[in-house]
Symmetry: C2
Subunit: 447 residues, 2 copies
């Protein structure tokens, strides 16, 4: 190794981490990006994998592929377990074989969030969350399996609970999942069963908050709720889920029998705060300076969902845009420092707007004073999401798939695959975090 | 249920089972197709999923989707555990919840093959085979993981064994896998690593037989071997693998250190013979009459890889074509019987020809007296395989993917996904059979 060249270590290959690496492309530094997965996930479309529209490979891009032309960048597949701030190195478990120490001069933690069950970790078994491709495939299996079970169930009394889907949390993921399931039963599944009518599926979207998609204006939020109800979805607001088990959920005094409960509510930050031994906010996020450095540590930066930063008196939301802009900012900051230029202005998030899909051909969009809902907003949504897919080949593939699904109602990936037990990393079988930005609103949803 | 209408039960949604169901479309019968998976797999392209070219959803089609317009056909997701010939019903374990009995008037067993380790079942752990989508994803993870491990390995002595890939069995699957791995390192992976050179990967193809692709003519078989060697693959013929463990294989007195051994050798038939309590051949296949009925049981048929039938003194090969033609034949036979027509002529397999791919843009093809090798054969191969994909949408998707991969070298699905432990059916964690035809030649390869 060249020893005089500064070493930049990035932990996490989500929107934030990738943005830092790209910004350092022409910087005189040796860059190492570490992620526990070999792929970057385009998180905003994860719900489409969970509902059989897209394949995992259509929203997952190998990190090596994204950074292949950056000769100064090495990608390592490994689990980061800690940071040794005195020795200035990151402790990595590579592939579960041995612990390794990767030294840094600059460190960027972009480790994202994982699901939070607010202390009820036992719920995880019955109500999986959606953060990784593995999560999405598991939820896809669960949803499709429910219809299969219902079709072959001899006892008609058991069919309703098999055909009931409960989504806990009405942020973007909950709303998008609920409407995608509604679309699935109305189009693709409609004519495929002989004993059940998929159209009779009951879809329940629950939230303790008073409205869906709380980060949007009340008007748009209301439009979204109306649309959800028109799709036949039961929207239950101001109601918390008190208990979840294998037979369904309990809301107040009422039990909703359901074999398919999906957790679309809270998230909590990755353990980056613990690694650094610094104070975090309630959601576990690391408080950062306005240049995204950790207070008192000018060489350590925390970005994306792992960071807590206020702007104009309000905390920045946990969305891809924030992570990307912060990643670019930190990359530029380090570049300037290394080439001897002055420090940039404090970080400022430029909010381009916020969007959410509510079923086929309907979205809501808010950008500055602009508020839009309906088909036009959906077209903008589709265009923006295609634009931001990391690989050009995926844009073509996803576009063709969307047009096909839109026109024919056929889903691309309606597979129930009983995957083998993974041969590696089995210490975190259920709740897997990933270095990826959360959808907007989820952080606001915690009770 | 209508009781007077004859009930036809098909076990297996592979090429054979689907062909039976389709042939019964306009037959006055209630048809039930049972499979343990919700999807039909286009087995001849399974190796492309294992080598990251295609996504599982590009070769897997939901059986319900294929048969959606056949109102007389019900699809059940379940594991068949036996046949009660006296009561005329099939014993099905639906979704691991309860055993169920599905009555039949006509029964077709099209349950395919599973890997056979010739009594060395302990090899399974170290040398996975390729029969299902889950197998393919597991092998894909294993191959990609090997390069990741090598890249981050600090001990240079351990790198060669991480970069050595051994394929046990030089039938179509072994040859296609070996050449696909060779293509993978030469194109996609080539510029993505910083510490290792993927081009230095060692690929070993071993077979006890004297030549590769034994079902082809000697001339074509030789062409294929030459091509494999030009791709840098070590072809070791006339050599049996005596032992496999986590560190590699032993061939005679030699140990080849390898962390990635893949079993592309023997297959054995599903337990259909046991269910029927009839005599089977050495590979576990049920001997059938020339109308594909089980001797003495005019209402039970066995087709595809599960059946053993000679034609012109030679056993029919375990290929998709045979299964499909047999399926169509049995469907027609039952239809004729039900509408009161005379029995058809004995089954006769019409061999359209045989093909195998050896790397990018090269295939061998044998059809009657025609023998072809090279790019033209590869074009024919590509055309035929696209033509036979079950769903039209998949044809487009696979075609676009192939063109893209051919032109850019980029692979579509280079993901390492650590899937969650499947929540269901855990009693057969490793060797999963599937109702799908085997590749040609594999049955001939057993020692």
């Amino acid at each position: 190794m060249i020893t005089n060249v500064p070493r930049v270590v990035i932990v996490g290959g989500g929107f934030g981490g990738i943005a830092v690496a790209k910004a350092l492309r022409n910087t005189p530094a040796v860059v190492t990006l570490i992620d526990r997965n070999n792929h970057h996930v385009f998180q905003p479309l994860l719900y489409q994998v969970a509902t059989s529209v897209l394949s995992p490979a259509q929203i997952g891009s190998p990190i090596r592929g994204i950074l292949r032309n950056q000769q100064n960048t090495t990608v390592i597949l490994g689990d980061v377990n800690g940071v040794d701030q005195e020795q200035k190195c990151v402790v990595v478990n590579k592939d579960d074989r041995h612990e390794d120490r990767v030294p840094y001069d600059y460190l960027i933690l972009a480790t994202g969030v994982r699901h939070s069950y607010f202390g009820h970790d036992g719920f995880a078994r019955f109500a999986p969350g959606l953060k990784t491709l593995a999560d999405a495939v598991a939820i896809r299996n669960k949803i499709l399996q429910a219809f299969e079970r219902a079709e072959s169930e001899n006892d008609p009394k058991l069919i309703p609970e098999l055909m009931t889907f409960v989504l806990v949390g009405a942020g973007p993921t909950g709303v998008e999942m609920a409407s995608a399931i509604a679309t699935l039963v109305r189009s693709t599944l409609r004519s495929e069963f002989r004993h059940i009518d998929p159209m009779s599926a009951r879809i329940v979207l629950v939230d303790i908050a008073g409205r869906v998609l709380g980060t949007f204006s009340e008007r748009l939020s209301d439009k979204a709720r109306q649309r959800l109800e028109r799709l036949g979805i039961e929207v239950r607001l101001g109601q918390g889920v008190d208990y979840i088990d294998e037979d369904g959920v309990i809301i107040g005094n009422e039990r909703i029998a359901s074999k398919t409960v999906i957790w679309t509510a809270g998230v909590t930050s990755s353990p980056a705060g613990k690694w650094l031994n610094v104070v975090t906010d309630r959601a576990g996020r690391v408080r950062v300076e306005n240049n995204l450095a950790v207070p008192g540590r000018s060489e350590i930066f925390v970005i994306g969902d792992t960071a807590s930063l206020d702007q104009d008196g309000k905390p920045l939301p946990g969305v891809a845009q924030v992570a990307t802009q912060q990643g670019r900012y930190v990359g530029r900051l380090i570049h300037r420092r290394l080439v001897g230029k002055s420090a940039p202005q404090p970080f400022r998030y430029f909010d381009k707007g916020n969007m959410a899909v509510v079923g086929k051909g309907f979205a809501i969009l808010e950008s500055g004073k602009l508020q839009l809902s309906g088909f036009l907003a959906w077209l903008v949504w589709a265009g923006v999401h295609l634009e931001f897919l990391a690989q050009r080949s995926l844009r073509v593939s996803v576009f063709v798939q969307w047009v096909w699904t839109y026109l024919t109602g056929a889903r691309g990936a309606r597979l129930i695959v009983k995957h083998h037990v993974p041969p590696l990393t089995e210490h975190e079988p259920r709740v897997q975090s990933e270095s990826v930005a959360a959808s907007a609103g989820q952080l606001n949803l915690t009770k």
